[in-house]
């Protein structure tokens, strides 16, 4: 009886450790003996294989080189990298997975599931779609920019934070939520890899795990305004020779009673940052007219974007959730997508522009 209490305590403590997923068999993770990998670039290889690349060593001030492998499975790549390199490459610091556009079109579910089930890999992992050859870009840049991978990570981290209003940065956890939730489809940022440049291109639109299209240019800006950040630092509209700045939006989405018409009202507040047109924006009547023109332009663009999404049968704006009610029977996802394709959409912009200069009556 005397020893019952300490024995019970030890049993409870050890059960806590072992049954909560803490393995008693620990890996050798001494940081000087391993090489933590910060990114994987995955491309489609010949014969249905995957081509997986990373930079090694990723962190130490040694001459860096691109390590590439042709594998059947993602994890096989992780294992085979070790055979090519004197330090064990570990995936615990994996921060970015760059997936080639062509591969994404074929579906990325197996890749996402592999990443999700690996306990070493954090869900704070940025997923990026790459247009072009990323490996080529790395090879060209690694000599002039040895810490390229690190700076790329810092860039994604910077724009991930709210109110940066420039890019659709999505991590693995967010992607998982969008992928596995009903009435929603995931999005990812798209970067264009050229010989010496890596440029943000737009937002990749997925239908389930298949890449269906890319919203770029004004479409991508509207995407940021309607769905992602509800904020844009700058919105250049070259057609009207104007740049709007510090734009904040409020989006009101409403479905009519029989779910046949979607009305979207977007209240936008911003200011004119630059204007090179012929209108006299110091005149209030002219400014009002100009305001209307921009509203009409943005309404048309937004409507086009929605029409595209309807055609792609993708619903990244989670419009389907508007059909849900507390007592009505929810539609199945299949039914909704059928419905979504034919849904009438009405977009109404309400823009308030501050001209930054005095306006005459």
């Amino acid at each position: 009886m005397k020893h019952l209490k300490p024995v019970l305590l030890i049993v409870i403590l050890s059960s806590n450790i072992f049954f909560t997923g803490c393995s008693p068999f620990v890996d050798n993770n001494e940081i000087e003996e391993i090489a933590p990998v910060t990114f994987w670039s995955i491309n489609p290889g010949a014969g249905g294989k995957l081509e997986i690349s990373t930079l090694g060593p990723p962190l130490v001030k040694e001459h860096k080189r691109l390590l590439s492998l042709k594998v059947d499975l993602l994890k096989q790549g992780g294992k085979d990298f070790n055979l090519k390199y004197y330090r064990e490459l570990k995936s615990g610091q994996l921060r970015m997975v760059l997936i080639n556009e062509e591969l994404a079109k074929k579906g990325i579910m197996p890749i996402i599931n592999t990443l999700l089930t690996d306990p070493d890999i954090s869900q704070r992992l940025y997923l990026v779609i790459v247009k072009g050859n990323f490996d080529e870009y790395i090879k060209n840049q690694v000599k002039s920019q040895p810490n390229l991978d690190y700076f790329l990570y810092r860039m994604l981290r910077h724009y991930e934070k709210k109110k940066q209003g420039e890019m659709s940065i999505i991590n693995l956890h967010q992607f998982k939520k969008l992928l596995y939730s009903p009435f929603s489809d995931p999005i990812l940022p798209v970067f264009k890899a050229q010989q010496t440049n890596f440029i943000y291109h737009g937002t990749a639109i997925f239908k389930d795990d298949y890449l269906k299209g890319i919203a770029h240019g004004v479409d991508d800006q509207i995407f940021q305004l309607v769905n992602n950040d509800y904020y844009l630092k700058f919105l250049p509209i070259p057609k009207y020779s104007v740049v709007l700045g510090n734009i904040r939006s409020k989006v009101h989405k409403k479905m009519n009673e029989n779910d046949s018409k979607l009305s979207i009202r977007i209240d936008v507040n911003g200011r004119i940052e630059e204007y090179r047109g012929a209108k006299d924006i110091q005149n209030s009547i002219e400014l009002e007219k100009f305001n209307k023109e921009i509203e009409t332009y943005l309404e048309k663009q937004t409507l086009d974007l929605f029409k595209n999404l309807q055609q792609l049968q993708a619903d990244p704006f989670k419009i389907g959730t508007l059909t849900l009610g507390p007592i009505s029977k929810p539609m199945s996802e299949k039914e909704w997508l059928k419905h979504w394709k034919t849904l009438k959409v009405n977009v109404d912009y309400n823009i308030k522009i501050h001209p930054l200069t005095s306006v005459h009556e």
């Binding site: 305590l9 001494e30 940081i31 000087e32 933590p36 962190l59």
Partner: protein
Amino acid sequence: MFWKQSDRDKSESHRDKRAVNLQNLKEMLSNMEDAEIIERETNNSEKIIFIYIRTLINQERLNEAIVVPLIQSSYASVCDCITNSKVSILSTLKEAETQLLFGSVLVFNQKQNVWCSVPLKNTTGRSIETSETETILYGAKDSFSEQIETNITLIRRRLPKTELKVEKFTIGTYSETTVMLMYIDGLTNPEFVKIARNELTNINFDLFFDSSQIAAFMEDHHHSIFPQFLQTDRPDVCAYSLVMGKITMLIDNTPFALVAPITFFHLLQSPEDYINRWPVASFLRGLRYISFIISITLIPFYVALTTHHYEMIPLQILYVLVESRSKLPFTPFWEAFLMLIILEIIKEASLRMPTKSSQTLGVIGGIVIGQAAVEAGFASKVLIVLVGISTIAAFLCPNYLLTKANTLIQFIFLIFSSFMGIIGIALGMIGILAHLNGLTSLKQPYFAPVSPFYGRDWLDLFIRGPLIWMKRRPEHLRTLQKWRYRSRR
């Protein structure tokens, strides 16, 4: 062993019963060079014998207060002639021995056949100085010295009340150390006084030369690394503790008093907390708690992260760590262990070395620990920084004994972290918390007011609340007077 003890006890009791006479005293004082037996004749031609131990008495006062008045007097009684305030008549040899050894002069009047003792204790010792172990910027600067009477004076001046009781105990079969148990009657929980009395009476050991030894005998948990008595040389701390309902023990020949019952949190409180403005004091107290945690976990965390959890390190820091550790021959555990051992050697040496050599130690320590260790490839730059931070953080703790305990906890956590990483540190923390929860000080819970929970006492726990709000005495001390102020009625 048993028969030897009982034999000694017998001889002691035999001495107790023997009558005091010159023959027995001479026998007792044989081979004691500093014992003096002087015979003088008075003006009345009476023979007077003075017996004393030269090194224990004030010899100037001997002439002024005893020898001259006695020789020149015409009084009938010896006691009447002596100008000293306290004269007592002796009957047994044991009494005579005790008085002699406590600095009294034995005076024998042959005609009257009376032995009396006159206390003339030599009070040579340090004067009242500033505390070196518990330094503060503002507040009283005086501290206890080795003289127990002076120490009592310093407390009495702060608490001029007859309710402040002082009980005397003599412990140590050879050292005969005087211990003064102080408490405020009608305020302090009588249970504490009773426990302290019992503990002091039951102490059976030969020699005590510091209060920590007495604390070791009175402690409820002898093997714990945490001190269960607060050792302080500040009279203001003692006075404050007494008023809060604690007991204080002053020990002769040591400047450190013992205060009990204490909690773990008392060890992280400083007298300056009650002098600073309350938001500042609360901030500083919070800083002390954080520093305590940093001092025990920072290096173990470094080892845990670099050995097991590389994935938890922010990428920017990982970059620096890999760079820093890439050419080291030791694993993170051995690197940290060696550095901490070297640091402890330097810390211990700095305490023992003469003051003039300390500059050399500083230079050697700085160069060896700092630059040379990194350049020679024994330690990484990051670890040097962390060792520096954790060492300085440990010194924020106002209690020196806790600072020393920190070091040991740090080593234990280091071993745990090298085997099990952060889980090891968490287990160590659980162990420390469980241990603290089980400790008692004078049979009172050591982790109060957190466990058991006393909500009101939290006002002076992790923060130091405004004094005007602290109108009640701590609940966990269960004092007889709960309020700190008197009703105006």
